[in-house]
């Protein structure tokens, strides 16, 4: 039973990793999160504000 749970979690995580990786890299990738673009802009702004760049 424990083996099944661990293996299921592993499979779910591998699929999640591959799907996000493919969606990010592939030109066929789509917007998963509705406000992805806004978040990205906020992160860039934060990095500049903190003086990391």
């Amino acid at each position: 039973m424990r083996r099944i749970i661990i293996e299921s979690l592993l499979i779910l995580l591998i699929s999640l990793f591959l799907s996000i990786l493919y969606n990010t890299v592939s030109p066929r990738g789509i917007e998963i999160l509705p406000k992805k673009a806004v978040k990205k802009a906020e992160i860039i702004e934060y990095i500049y504000y903190r003086g990391y760049v």
Binding site: S8, I11, S15, L18, S19, Y22, R28, I30, I32, P34
Partner: protein, 151 residues
């Protein structure tokens, strides 16, 4: 005999879900439209589901095909197939005519029937039975897991 039967089920199920996953991975936008037509999921989770579900099918298919963690994968795939049966059943019950989206682009290329109807329910139930068969029969032949254990 049982081990050979499990092997045949593995090849069939693994092959089908590997191809079905790949067909959907190659065209996520089409899968989004299909999921929308089902009118089952909230709009927020549809894009994520359209990206994640084909990869889950692909990983489960490949692991069953190669015979690595195949019993767990078969159990998960049986659950997934039952969800498909419920989803298609609800569409039929509500009288919505829609593509089942099971094989994505592959259905167009091979001109396979891909409507959400009783045939697709029977097909999914058959796949579920095969998955349960793979899970119940503990022994199998020609598997990557068996090969690794031997080394």
């Amino acid at each position: 005999m049982a081990a050979k039967l499990s092997f045949i089920f593995r090849i069939v199920i693994g092959g089908v879900f590997l191809l079905a996953g790949l067909a959907k991975i190659s065209d996520p936008v089409r899968f989004i439209l299909t999921l929308r037509e089902f009118r089952l999921f909230p709009e927020m989770i549809i894009p994520f589901t359209a990206v994640y579900l084909p990869w889950l099918e692909f990983v489960l298919g490949i692991s069953i095909f190669l015979g690595i963690m195949h019993r767990t994968s078969a159990l998960m795939l049986a659950g997934l197939n039952m969800l498909f049966v419920i989803a298609i059943g609800s569409v039929i019950f509500r009288g919505i005519v829609v593509d089942c989206g099971c094989f994505g682009l592959l259905a167009d290329m091979l001109k396979l029937p891909d409507m959400a109807d009783w045939k697709s329910i029977v097909r999914n139930l058959l796949f579920t039975l095969m998955c349960i068969g793979i899970f119940i029969i503990k022994k199998t032949v020609i598997s990557l897991e068996g090969y690794i254990k031997k080394q």
